[in-house]
Symmetry: C2
Subunit: 231 residues, 2 copies
């Protein structure tokens, strides 16, 4: 009967196996590997200094995620995240982030609440100064806190993936001064609702936050890259 510490080492980014998977995944999500590009096991292996075996294992995972497509006896081809995917993800997030905020309202720990408040304070500071790089990091972390606090493995896993899939778009839109301060304001609303224990208001605010982010994305900057296919 197994009785190991469950928290540690699940698909660790720093273990060799995790490294190969994450490296390829990052290269797909960041656009290093482009749409329809063929990924050869030996080439990728050489890039990362490993043999075909760990690469193949990573390929299987990426296929399951839908980031690549493996055609038997032919090869692995980059699918990546298309503009359509990003739009769909935002619509799905606009339903699910609220649920996460709702659950976080009743499950958030004292430490998580404190980190969230600190996150808001810092974000407001950096937003006023126009420090876009820090804003992006804090924005990421804000959502991560909610995912962790919602106490649902399923929802956390799903939203974390979505969050990573749309990273490139988010970075672009958050680098707009106007949107970054709006976003921070919306984060505060969510935080206040969670702190007040008002799950309804937290859900509504979180959903609205994603809808606003989506609208902003559509208005600015998404259309111009529409033609290229991948984000």
């Amino acid at each position: 009967m197994a009785n190991y510490d469950v928290k540690s080492e699940v698909n660790d980014k720093f273990s060799l196996r995790g490294r190969v998977y994450h490296k390829i995944r990052d290269n797909i999500l960041s656009g290093v590997y482009k749409e329809n590009e063929e990924l050869k096991e030996v080439s990728i292996g050489e890039e990362l200094g490993v043999s075909r075996t760990p690469v193949r294992e990573a390929f299987r995972q990426l296929e399951l995620e839908g980031l690549i497509q493996i055609i038997p006896n032919k090869g692995a081809y980059v699918t990546g995240i298309t503009i359509k995917d990003v739009e769909d993800i935002y619509m799905m997030r606009s339903k699910l982030e609220g649920l996460a905020a709702r659950w976080a309202t009743t499950n958030i720990t004292k430490e998580q609440m404190e980190e969230m408040e600190e996150n808001i304070y810092l974000s407001e500071f950096h937003a006023s100064k126009g420090h876009m790089e820090q804003i992006a990091v804090l924005d990421n972390r804000f959502h991560e806190i909610i995912y962790e606090a919602c106490n649902s493995k399923m929802l956390e896993h799903q939203l974390r993936d979505f969050h990573e899939y749309v990273l490139r778009v988010r970075k672009r839109t958050l680098s707009q001064f106007k949107r970054s301060s709006e976003s921070t304001k919306e984060h505060r609303e969510i935080m206040e609702a969670i702190k007040a224990g008002d799950a309804d208001r937290a859900e509504e605010a979180a959903n609205r936050h994603i809808v606003n982010a989506y609208d902003n994305m559509i208005k600015n900057g998404l259309k111009e890259i529409y033609e290229r296919g991948l984000v």
Copy 2:
């Protein structure tokens, strides 16, 4: 430059590689492999008549899904779907199925619409006769049609997984005569709304359908297996 038929052979259930993955997955989801059970690469390989390599690749995929946990240099342990997971999935589905129905309203093809209508007719017949086995199959298919018709790779993939994860519970609750006829009635409402092109009504009906299924599940039969952990 790759230019293959994209539809075919993605993680095919009948290719060797897909077979290993799906077989292990089914054994987890159906409860053949129990919670915390250790899965040994050689044993599983012998069961399926393959070497460690394909088994390891399947393990990596299952780990990504969260169905098993791999502890480096130790082993693979079944996580499976817990009661808590099922509850969470139903809440998430109650937000997402509506979205799928909404999108299906504008994207459904003539063929899909016809299959859906036929599905309802057959379901009503079998529901009145108490043919529970057929009801389960038709219920599955009804939701599958919506997933296919919603025209969103992301949403389809997600809902299909959820659907499979809660299969055991659904089979149990659908075997109740009362719920199966209620469910069929709700399916008809969704179908009528989609056919009428009323996306709002389709979304509302689909979400309510999942909420009803969830409530019924809580009332009947989920509590008694609560203690066992896995569904």
